[in-house]
């Protein structure tokens, strides 16, 4: 176990293309940190720099108390699991798991003991004599995991390890990885583009976009207090609704309008007095069905209904041109074409500066 520290880390490719820009991150010993973001956001490059598979253009990375910028991957005491498993095809499962141990010159008995241990933990016993070609995707991923665990490294690095599995298996492996981490308590850096996977696995998330860290925090903190519009839109499913309009705050009273229609009036905490263009963000889960006469209710038209079991996503329009998605309980009997009334959970409304990646205006107690 070891802490991992990234100090002003840059990755600059030929032609002055920066894949990672000034990343600062402290990962505590034993922590499970997930780097999450869309394709090309620099999360994999960051991970590969920690692994030593990419050089560091600027800045410093340390594992434990050792700066590893010029340390070869094999000497960093890390283990990595790749998206495509990267098993050695001509070796049996047993040899795959034992390979790094054998190279390090570990005595045979100790190797056997570790392989037995790992295969017990991951249920690989019956597969030890098989070659990767004879395994299913899930089994291969398990072997790749076993290969990493057998090394007993200071840090685990995972590069989208579950994205080649089908949905059901992915969820099962997710649970397994989480319990594995609880058991081994090894420092883990995990890369994924799947925000749901990130939320469920990470003790802390690092949301990245365009080579930069957008926000670092616990999953709940990031979900409730996104620092800007990008994070707000990326984390959470279905994605947050964004409405562009005019924000007026005066003496604690907030009014948000668009084309002359009031979309929200009421009080929102942590908002300074202002009168400017802004973007209102509200999660589908924070839009409630209201009865017609109740105060603050807004009339809306239902365009489409997507049932999800005990809940449903409804696509609605207010004031004719403002489309939103709401996630509401199923039993309300709302159908496409019907007229309803909605209300907002006003504690969960966010306001952002009006440009594309606008910073949040109503910063909570962060």
């Amino acid at each position: 176990m070891a802490a991992v520290e990234l100090n002003s880390v840059w990755k600059i490719y030929a032609g002055d293309v920066s894949a990672v820009k000034d990343v600062n991150l402290s990962i505590e010993s034993g922590e499970f940190v997930v780097l999450v973001g869309p394709s090309g956001c620099g999360k994999s490059t960051t991970l590969r720099m920690i692994a030593g598979l990419e050089s560091i253009s600027k800045g410093e990375i340390s594992i434990g108390d050792r700066v590893v910028n010029d340390v070869a991957p094999k000497d960093r005491d890390i283990a990595m699991v790749f998206q495509n498993y990267a098993l050695y095809p001509h070796m049996t499962v047993e040899k795959n798991i034992a390979f790094s141990l054998k190279i390090s010159g570990m005595p045979k008995d100790e190797i056997n003991k570790r392989v037995q241990n790992v295969s017990e933990v991951l249920g690989l016993h019956d597969l030890l004599k098989r070659k990767p070609g004879a395994l299913s995707g899930g089994q291969r991923q398990r072997v790749a995991l076993g290969r990493a665990i057998a090394r007993d490294p200071k840090v685990f690095l995972f590069d989208e390890p579950l994205s080649n599995l089908d949905a059901k298996l992915r969820v099962a492996m997710r649970t397994e990885m989480k319990s594995l981490h609880q058991r081994l308590a090894t420092t883990t850096v995990y890369v994924t583009h799947d925000q749901e996977e990130a939320m469920t696995l990470g003790s802390r998330l690092v949301v990245m976009n365009a080579g930069q860290i957008q926000q670092v925090g616990t999953p709940i903190d990031i979900y409730n207090n996104p620092t800007n519009r990008f994070v707000a839109g990326f984390v959470g499913s279905p994605a947050m609704n964004f409405i562009e309009g005019k924000l007026q705050v005066k003496a604690g009273q907030t009014r948000f309008s668009r084309n002359g229609f009031d979309i929200f009036t009421g009080s929102v905490s942590n908002l300074p007095d202002t009168e400017s263009d802004a973007v209102m963000g509200i999660r589908p889960q924070s839009i409630l069905l209201a009865s017609e006469g109740s105060s603050d209710s807004i009339p809306a038209k239902v365009d489409q209904v997507e049932p999800l079991g005990d809940q449903m996503d409804i696509k609605i329009r207010i004031h004719d041109d403002i489309a939103m998605i709401a996630r509401v309980p199923l039993q309300t009997g709302v159908a496409a074409g019907s007229d309803i009334h909605i209300a907002y959970d006003s504690g969960k409304i966010h306001f952002f500066e009006s440009h594309a990646e606008g910073t949040r205006i109503n910063r909570g107690a962060e």
Binding site: Q83, N84, Y85, A86, L87, Y88, P89, P132, G133
Partner: protein, 288 residues
């Protein structure tokens, strides 16, 4: 499975007609060679294939013989020595060329190094130079280096064909995923170890194929030994068999028997390595 029925369609017929035609083109000369090797002088001149006559099965047995094979191994021709020479030359070249081409091709596909682009251009450029063009300059080189009339002079120019480097470069790109090499790097293997222990086994089908290709090329090499080698006892099969013919008289029976003997080792090698042509070893290593 009851949906699989044998059906004859027009494309099926056309494909099979074509295959039969090609097979005939391939098999007939071979058959001719085998039969001719067992015929007497007279039998060779009188009959195209099997000498027909009054003997059992309608064959004139008096026109068939194995005498030609005996003559091959007599001291005046000495095919035994030539056979050993050919095996040595071809095997050495094949092993060296395959190893060196695999090493260079792998490096050019999987590693980053200074001058990589220049190296790749050099390989491509070498590919488009017709080999006969190089006969005179390489003779000069061999003379300067004092390698004429030596096996080194014959083997050395053949151990790093650009074609092979290119072939292994493509094979590496296709069947050795980068992540496997990176996994090995993290696991603690050095770069040469990664090539030897990880990449080479994954390139095995290409290794098998290229061993055959290079072995055959040297086995059939006729001009090379003619130019480089001068001593009679160093000559390989291809040259020795040709030398059985003189300007005034062609001993076809002897020629056919010699050719048949020269084919057998190659056929054996092919049978031995052919499964590597087919094997797709890398399947299942990574998610495809």
């Amino acid at each position: 499975m009851n949906g699989k029925r044998f059906s004859i369609s027009i494309p099926w017929v056309l494909v099979h007609l074509l295959l039969i035609a090609v097979s005939i083109v391939v098999i007939v000369p071979l058959l001719y060679l085998v039969i001719s090797a067992f015929k007497t002088e007279q039998g060779f001149l009188e009959h195209t294939f099997i000498p027909i006559g009054e003997g059992a099965l309608g064959i004139d047995w008096s026109q068939l013989t194995i005498r030609q094979f005996g003559r091959l191994f007599e001291s005046e021709i000495g095919i035994g020595r030539a056979l050993v020479n050919s095996v040595f030359l071809s095997a050495t070249t094949a092993v060296l060329a395959t190893f060196i081409c695999a090493l260079a091709g792998y490096a050019s596909a999987a590693l980053e190094f200074k001058g990589k682009r220049a190296f790749e251009w050099l390989v491509l450029a070498a590919l488009i130079i017709p080999p006969p063009l190089l006969i005179a300059p390489s003779y000069q080189w061999l003379h300067t280096l004092g390698l004429l009339d030596s096996y080194t002079g014959l083997i050395l120019p053949a151990v790093a064909p650009a074609f092979g480097v290119f072939l292994f470069r493509q094979a590496t790109l296709q069947s050795v995923p980068k992540s496997i090499l990176e996994a090995a790097r993290i696991d603690g293997l050095g770069e040469f170890g990664i090539f030897l222990v990880i990449a080479l086994p994954m390139l095995r089908p290409m290794v098998g194929a290229f061993l055959i290709i290079t072995f055959l090329a040297m086995w059939n090499n006729f001009i090379g030994p003619q130019i480089v080698l001068q001593s009679a006892e160093k000559q390989p099969l291809s040259v020795v068999i040709y030398q059985t013919q003189t300007a005034y008289y062609s001993d076809y029976g002897l020629l056919m028997a010699g050719t048949l003997v020269s084919i057998l080792p190659v056929a054996a090698l092919f049978l031995f390595l052919q499964r590597d042509f087919i094997a797709g070893l890398s399947s299942g290593a990574v998610k495809g």
